[in-house]
């Protein structure tokens, strides 16, 4: 890894087609800066993207990448990291990708604690399909498919993560570039599954959860007496539905990542030209 990597090296030659002002620009910039600052380069980084506006990120970033099917980005990232512990893996998707169609995978990815970073670009709306309720939309948020609001409580992804045994839970805001980048960096450096939910406003279909709304309401945990290593503290923050926060909510400093738990540390891409040495032992077992 060379030290002269700049975050722009992670930019592809494709111009984003996100709407002007979309929160995803800032989210992506923070990801690229975080990767560069932590000493990664495009050739040793693997980005997995889901489907939706957020899923386009694989196209706009330059790295090894897979733009997968809807909701399955986390299993793909899990497979990449297990096969290649030497590669930096970052998974990115939206709130629909992660908490609706992919919610089952989210819970289990958190439990496995694979050493990768999961960035959810949460705009509380389905943007690519032109404005339907998402799992994080407010109960009374009116959309084309929920004219009176979804009338069901939004998913609390942090609570889901905590309940699933998360070792790193954070929240950032794409417009607060510095803090967003710092939080992403901390997630990358965490030994285990680094989960960052990013408020990434949709300027086209969500006129409630706007830049102004987040600017006015966000409380930075760093400016409070919150102790992110204290699970009880984390629980209080997570279950407080009245306050929007940003910062590292929970961090288990004794986290043991999957590859250490399971002794998975080899680069699996390297194999011999014939059967592995002592493969005949396998035949003998059947005597």
């Amino acid at each position: 890894m060379s030290s002269d990597i700049r975050f722009t090296d992670f930019k592809s030659d494709k111009q984003p087609t996100w709407c002007p002002g979309c929160g995803d620009f800032g989210t992506m910039n923070g990801m690229m800066k975080g990767l560069a600052e932590t000493g990664n380069d495009p050739d040793n980084t693997f980005v997995v993207a889901g489907i939706g506006c957020s899923g386009k990120i694989g196209t706009y970033m330059h790295s090894y990448a897979l733009h997968g099917v809807h909701g399955r980005a986390l299993p793909v990232g899990t497979g990449v990291k297990m096969a290649r512990p030497d590669i930096e893996v970052m998974v990115a998707g939206g709130d629909g990708d992660g908490y609706s169609i992919g919610a089952g995978h989210f819970v289990h990815a958190v439990r496995r604690n694979v050493d990768m970073t999961y960035v959810v670009m949460d705009n509380r709306i389905y943007g690519l399909t032109k404005g339907q309720a998402s799992p994080t939309s407010r109960e009374d948020f009116e959309t084309s498919t929920s004219p009176e609001g979804p009338k069901q409580p939004p998913v609390n992804p942090h609570a889901l993560a905590l309940a699933s045994g998360a070792t790193f839970i954070a929240q950032s805001f794409s417009s607060d570039a510095l803090r967003h980048q710092e939080i992403i960096q901390e997630a990358i450096e965490h030994d285990g599954f680094g989960f960052v939910n990013v408020y990434s406003p949709c300027v086209t279909f969500n006129d409630v959860d706007t830049y102004d709304y987040f600017r006015d309401s966000l409380v930075d945990l760093e400016e409070t007496d919150h102790d992110p290593t204290d699970r009880e503290d984390a629980k209080d923050v997570i279950l407080d539905s009245e306050t929007e926060t940003q910062g590292v909510i929970y961090k288990d400093e004794s986290s043991v990542p999957y590859h250490e738990q399971h002794g998975v540390d080899e680069d699996m891409s390297v194999i011999p030209e014939g059967a592995p040495e002592s493969a005949t032992d396998l035949v003998r077992e059947f005597y």
Binding site: D13, S63, H108, I271, A275, P276, A279, Y287
Partner: protein, 585 residues
């Protein structure tokens, strides 16, 4: 051919039937006898009839027959279920002290041996060994040296301590002596032993071993009958070769993990059955269009939906050939024997990487859970070749880089095969996607590039047709007017059926086809035959349809879909019946 001997143990699920049968099969194998096993089982943990059957001979055996010489019956139902296969002189070993067996009636002409299995086991150290007592009794009936059983018991229990091994040996001897002392009867059997060394394994295990031999390092799966044995086999073994097994939360996740590992450059696979393939089909198009090498093993069972989960069927051919929206090539391999499960798994990994596409490797339930003996040379690891296809490194990557400096993982080439760069390769960073893409993997809707990429992907199939050997296996009389075509596990029964037909004066030529796509062109073979019969375990004749499509001629069909595999004698008469109908027409 030497006379074969047919033995079974049956009872309720949870009675330890499977391990009892396996121990006896192992004892026979260690005595240098060939073995072919089959299982009748239900998916309930406890309750319901289950049986483990063993056919053995000093000659190769590769199918089941409708005959039982010795039956260990733990329940009355075991006798009822096997009435058709029991014959005059068959021996039934049972425990008359067991409440349910007290009033059991031994059918006329058969020999009932009432052995106090539980009491004798308790004397030897524990009631749990009652089935081993029965095995000892069976050794006496079959005049089979009990030292071979000792050897199998050692293998089975050595990890649990010598005391347990010794207790089991004692239990076996108690059963043996009881029969010798209490029944002054000359039984008709004498199982000779040979000096041959055999290994005993089932299709799922052969697939698992083939995967490790081929350099597979990553397996993700979700438990499902009858594919779970592949995962069970790999767990604890693949780690010794630097690999890893993950039990995923569902099949959607399993295949995506396998896909991720493959993108990382690992030889990667998943195994499931039809219902799992349904879920995995969601990701299938992505694997194929991103040109990711992946082996997807489908151990077929009876469908549709939950169907008959523990029963035989070959009904998923169309699912594998056509599953998924849009059009994209995939290969489908279907080994026809247990030893071929090993070799076709190796081949599947090579084909997947050489042509950078998903390969379905399909076995069926009968083959997956059936154990058979082989000479260990059958699995000669020195014969395993690994071909990773067109993988670039730092020194060759420049040849596949665009003018603007981007690596081209979907380069338009004459043979359709593009270069592959594993993560970590300098200047190789690229995106793979389910979107239509250009040579660099970037999204495109350009009409010319779309056509170029579709054509390129399909060109890989034409290249593979030319470069690889897709021949079927042939046996029987090559000049016969009757051609029988089959695929999957029917081959063993068919081989014996052909011998039976030959003895009756019917000449038959058989083509057993392990390649479903691409597949051999059988036009000339079908044209040369007067009658062509396609044999398969499904109702619709999915492979027969393919043959008709290829040769533009109607074929006769023998189909079975009651959940039970073909038996040799049954198949011989089905084929004869088809020929008779053909003559009348």
């Amino acid at each position: 051919m030497a006379a074969d001997f047919n033995w079974a143990v049956g009872g309720e699920a949870g009675d330890g039937i499977d391990s009892t049968g396996k121990i006896f099969a192992q004892a026979l194998s260690r005595a240098g006898r060939h073995v072919f096993t089959s299982k009748d089982f239900a998916s309930r943990i406890r309750g319901g009839y289950t049986a483990y059957k063993v056919r053995t001979s000093v000659d190769k055996v590769q199918s089941v027959v409708d005959r039982l010489d010795v039956l260990i019956a733990l329940t009355p139902r075991t006798i009822e279920e096997n009435l058709d296969e029991l014959h005059e002189g068959s021996v039934i070993i049972y425990d008359g002290e067991r409440t349910t067996m007290q009033d059991v009636e031994i059918p006329e002409g058969m020999i009932g041996l009432d052995v106090p299995l539980k009491s004798l086991a308790e004397e030897a150290g524990g009631a749990i060994m009652r089935n081993v007592v029965a095995l000892g009794a069976a050794c006496e009936v079959a005049e089979f040296p009990i030292e071979n059983l000792d050897s199998a018991l050692e293998k089975r229990f050595k990890d649990k301590g010598q005391k347990l091994v010794d207790n089991n040996k004692e239990a076996a001897r108690a059963g043996q002596s009881y029969v010798a002392d209490e029944y002054d009867h000359e039984f008709d059997y004498s199982l000779e032993t040979t000096d041959e060394d055999y290994v005993l394994l089932n299709g799922d295990e052969a697939i698992g071993m083939g995967a490790i031999a081929a350099g597979c390092r990553f397996y993700a799966g979700y438990p499902i009958t009858p594919a779970t044995d592949v995962m069970t086999y790999l767990t604890g073994r693949i780690e010794r070769y630097g690999g890893h097994v993950v039990q995923a939360e569902d099949e959607l996740s399993a295949i995506n993990m396998a896909l991720g590992a493959a993108r990382g450059g690992a030889r990667s696979m998943t195994a499931t059955s039809g219902p799992g393939i349904d879920l995995m089909t969601e990701t299938f198009g992505l694997i194929a269009t991103s040109e990711t090498p992946l082996v997807i093993c489908n151990v077929m069972r009876s469908g549709p939906s939950t169907g008959m989960p523990t029963k035989q069927e070959q009904g998923d051919l169309n699912q594998m050939l056509y599953g998924g929206h849009g059009e994209v090539p995939r290969f489908v391999l279907a080994p026809t024997t247990i030893d071929e499960c090993f070799w076709k798994t190796v081949e599947a990994f090579n084909l997947a990487e050489k042509y950078q596409l998903p390969v379905y490797l399909t076995a069926d339930l009968s083959m997956a859970v059936t154990e058979q003996t082989f000479s260990p040379d059958t699995f000669d690891m020195d014969e395993v070749e690994v071909d990773r296809g067109n993988v670039v490194d730092e020194t060759t990557i420049d040849d596949h880089t665009s003018d603007s400096g981007g690596f081209q993982p979907h380069e338009i080439t004459d043979d359709g095969v593009s270069p592959r760069a594993f993560p970590g390769t300098a200047d190789g960073a690229h995106m793979s996607t389910g979107l239509e893409h250009d040579e660099q993997g970037r999204r495109t809707e350009d009409t010319e590039m779309r056509v170029a990429q579709v054509d390129k992907r399909n060109r890989k199939v034409e290249t593979a047709r030319e470069r690889e050997d897709w021949s079927p296996r042939e046996f029987g009389d090559e000049d016969a007017d009757t051609l029988v075509i089959t695929w999957g596990s029917n081959e063993g029964a068919l081989a014996e059926a052909v011998r039976m037909l030959d003895e009756e004066g019917h000449d038959v030529r058989v083509l057993s086809v392990p390649y479903i796509f691409p597949r051999p062109d059988l036009s000339e073979d079908v044209e040369a035959a007067e009658t062509t019969v396609v044999v398969e375990c499904n109702e619709q004749g999915q492979f027969a349809d393919l043959v008709e499509h290829d040769v533009l001629e109607r074929v006769d069909r023998v189909n079975k879909y009651n959940g039970v595999r073909f038996k040799a004698d049954e198949l011989a008469s089905d084929i004869k019946a088809t020929l008779a109908e053909g003559v009348e027409a």
